[in-house]
Point group: D2
Chain length 116, copies 4
């Protein structure tokens, strides 16, 4: 199921429950940030190595999948409310990033372009 | 361009810059939360009505599009690192939500299922 | 009990449990952001008016108090690790803000100084 | 300068600018989370070791101090609006944590009490 279909299904979900009253861009930005932070919480005390090995922990992976889904769901809702095509927006940003972070300046160096 | 193609393009972007050393699940969860919070900042002092009218403000919309793109980009990277299909995960979560929030209990009521 | 005493007590708490291995500045910044987002979640679907009336809801206020405490606890731990005096830092920032947001430009206007 | 005095000074700051209209608990929870995320961003690509050595980087430390100050400022404002004594709340939470994380169960183990 692709983004467009997920967007329609989420729109229907909100309409059936009369939840558009809650789904203002402001509130959706809050819900999105709250869900992103739940992912953060899973990783907060792990070493980098432990964070990579988490793929072998079925219980944690189930939780991570749910949190990632929540982030995508609110991102789609917010974008729908604002009339933004998220896949197009991401592609455009990638093109911008390719210019901001040319390979010769960014090899092995993740420093933000304006701090380099 | 769909999620799968964005994922491949982002993977190539990271490989060319040798950025996989930075892109641990832990670090990506941080970058994702930081970007989600930049969206939050845009809306923090706006009334609900102002947050809805923001679609008429071209300058703010350009900024919002970029932040939404950043969230999607890190969400795709994180999912790629963990082997998670985000569209499938979102669909599965929607099915769960339809059960947790049946229309007759959730009409006009966004209270979390475990607080209802 | 003031900040300095809380800081000492939290230091002892971490030492007794041998938790300094987890309390790197990086990890503490994650824990701090995760706790701040739990506050966010409490308010995400409330209107401004409901968010103000929450003071009359004892159950919610107990929860809010705990989340606010968690934010302060991690803020103190992070500052302790980095050798920062948070009360002094806040005072210095207030002085900066008084210059960035002079009354005649900021009256009824919360626009960020660099966007004004 | 202690928390009580900072609180009074911040209250005056908001009154002079007529900013209480913006400082609803909801909006302050957003501002708090946004500032916490700016700390996160500073640490996101650093190794644990680099995050500890940041104390030797004067430029980064200046930035960190400002972000930590911003978090404390919004935490104090939010608590003032809700009538919460943050130092008392933190102390009470520490007492709770001492019970939830007894030394014999938590030594070298930061696992959340409800997942242990």
């Amino acid at each position: 199921m692709d983004i467009k279909l997920l967007q329609q299904r989420l729109r229907l979900f909100a309409e059936e429950r009369n939840w558009n009253q809650f789904h203002t861009p402001k509130n959706l930005s809050m819900a999105l940030a709250a869900e992103a932070a739940e992912l953060l919480e899973i990783f907060q005390w792990l070493t980098d190595e432990q964070s990579q090995n988490i793929v072998n922990n079925e219980k944690e992976m189930t939780l991570i999948k749910e949190e990632i889904a929540d982030v995508l769901i609110y991102l789609i809702r917010l974008s729908d409310k604002l009339g933004i095509d998220i896949e197009k927006a991401a592609l455009e940003k990638i093109v911008v990033n390719e210019k901001k972070y040319p390979v010769h300046l960014s090899k092995n160096n993740a420093t933000k372009y304006n701090k380099r």
